[in-house]
């Protein structure tokens, strides 16, 4: 044997890890696990329910109906001249993706304490797989949106899709990143401060009203619009509506800002997540 000091060790377990450890290689090694989790999440949600996968459609349909009745017919909030059903459905489809990503990553540690307490794999696998399985769900709900959209287009309503449609993948990625980042930050904090768990659903709901889902951005006076633009979701929703329906405000700078904010949240999320990952078992 050669020099003992230069022996190669595959793994060294130490009290603390480096702050910026992204573990990309480790994550890549576990790509099969990500897919397996996605499959599990996606296929077990509606097991043993009578309607099964139909629930993917029922949820947004019911919410849209409710919004149409409450905010449209009763409160008479304008929709920029877009058919109400289409207006609400587009907002809800998009918002659901973001809020599902956020809410289901936010209890990563608590929900998986059982597995995390027994086996090691990069913990990031779980939030990433959550975002991917929500992406699938979003894809399914997008089909519903497109069907409704086609129907209105066929019936000759005032709908103008345009070239900003090409931005759709970017919008989806930004939302995913934002939901993942925020979710990870919250998941890491909830291991210590459980109270956050109760605040999260309430907070997400509140955030929805601060995002132009049930009202168009144009109803906000230009003076106060900057407040709305602090919310990174605003630009995403507005761009989406603009690209499909030709109404709404498409603001490239706001979209770039959203993009930057999302990436900052993602990096912060990974940072905090990695820090908590190592010792959360002692706190849960």
């Amino acid at each position: 044997m050669s020099d003992h000091a230069q022996e190669h060790w595959d793994l060294i377990i130490k009290p603390k890890s480096l702050i910026l450890e992204f573990k990309v290689k480790e994550l890549w090694m576990n790509r099969d696990l990500v897919l397996m989790f996605v499959k599990r999440d996606f296929s077990t949600v509606y097991k043993q329910t009578i309607l099964g996968p139909l629930w993917f459609f029922i949820q947004p349909i019911l919410t849209t109906l409710m919004f149409t009745v409450v905010f449209g017919n009763i409160a008479k909030i304008p929709t920029d001249g877009i058919p109400r059903t289409l207006f609400y459905l587009s907002g809800i489809t998009l918002w659901n993706y973001f809020s599902d990503c956020l809410i289901s990553t936010s209890d990563t540690f608590i929900k998986n304490a059982n597995i995390f307490g027994k086996v090691y794999f990069p913990r990031l696998v779980v939030p990433i797989s959550v975002v991917i399985s929500n992406l699938l769900k979003f894809g399914v709900q997008m089909i519903l949106f497109l069907v409704v959209y086609m129907y209105y287009a066929w019936s000759g309503f005032n709908i103008h899709p345009n070239s900003t449609l090409l931005l759709l993948p970017v919008l989806i990625i930004i939302m995913g990143i934002l939901g993942l980042g925020l979710g990870m930050i919250i998941s890491a904090l909830t291991t210590k401060y459980r109270d956050l768990r109760f605040l999260i659903t309430f907070g997400v709901q509140l955030l929805m009203y601060a995002t132009p889902i049930i009202y168009p951005l144009s109803t906000i006076s230009p003076k106060r619009r900057w407040i709305m633009e602090l919310n990174p979701m605003t630009a995403i929703i507005e761009t989406f509506k603009y690209s499909f329906l030709g109404k709404g405000s498409y603001l490239p700078e706001a979209l770039v800002k959203s993009c930057i904010v999302s990436i900052v949240f993602l990096l912060a999320g990974i940072l905090i997540f990695n820090k908590v990952e190592k010792k959360f078992m002692d706190n849960v």
């Binding site: 377990i13 696990l33 077990t44 995390f116 027994k118 401060y193």
Partner: protein, 420 residues
Amino acid sequence: MGNVIEVNNLGKLYRLGEIGTGTLARDINSWWAGIRGKENPNKRIGEINDRSVKGSSEFVWSLKDINFEVKQGEVLGIIGKNGAGKSTLLKILSRVTAPTTGEIKIKGRIASLLEVGTGFHPDLTGKENVYLNGAILGMRKAEIKRKFDDIIDFAGIARYINTPVKRYSSGMTVRLAFAVAAFLEAEILLLDEVLAVGDAAFQKRCLGKMQDISQKEGRTVLFVSHNMTAVESLCNKAIFLSNGLFEYGGSTKDVINRYLQENVTDVTKRVFNEEEIEKQKGAVKTKSIELVNDHPQGLFDVNSSIYLSVTNDFLSSGQFVLDVQLYNLEGLMIFNSCTPMTEFSTGIYTTRVAISSNLLNNGNYVINFAVLDGNLALLYQLRHVLAFQLHDNPEGREIAYLGEWKGIIRPKLKWEINKQ
């Protein structure tokens, strides 16, 4: 062969008491003290983890100053009482939790089977769960595919692979889970108490598989168990943890003997004082009573003989009978044995009786001692005068079975096998 695991100065501090309340206030408190350059009022001072003694610190060392190494292909047994730190050690090794001090260096892939069925989803079928569980334990999909038939075959559940796991019996779940883990391609395997489940036949298969893993495949196994019989026959080395400290390490036999000796609650000798002797009615006084054995380390085990010796003072001559009763913990009398009616003269006698080896089963026993006069009337009885634990020893077994040997007694009987 070189070391595959090196553990240096490993320590793990745990906080006791209720976790979660007042943490925000505490965190702000620590942070504020830090800003003013003062010492953190919530600084962690650890104490040795002795559960029975109420400590002053909120923090205890679940593990402290642990050092050991494991060579390739070794099967290391980790033994110790509940709370000795065995599971914490495995948790740190499997990276479930981080150590507070020290480091561990590892060569090769490490896989743990800390509790079977980790990550099994009740709604998924057996087949889906094999893939999921395998992936959780670190296997690639292709790898699982390759071994799928072997896994199902080993678990013996071929008929149920397309049934959701929630419809399985607990035995089937465990078998499937063990099978997945047994076919892992990790170089180092951590096992904790998996043998406590499953029927005898499956236990035997598990042990056989573990022997294959360590001896034929040259893999390294760390094995935590309370089943000394299994540890003794599977492991070639062992370490003994006590209250989070490294107590002893070496060959399995030595470590187990040491462990058993430290956990004795036996009362093997009683010397009576004058006051106690006064209370004994009649002319025969019992001065002392003692149990000894012919085991090299002085342990009571099923393969060694036990001798009971009594010292009596006869104040007057006459006919007497000395009587011994042996009870198990459930209060069942295993036997009652007495001297023949004997004529004793005045003076001190020592009487000795041998309880032969390979007669009693392992377990805990209590002894009653009685003296009867010439008319077989009871003079007095010393109830629960001695107590001892008879340990199991796999060496004496006829077959390579390592589970619990049932039966009230365990006599070695003479078998005659003739071919016609």
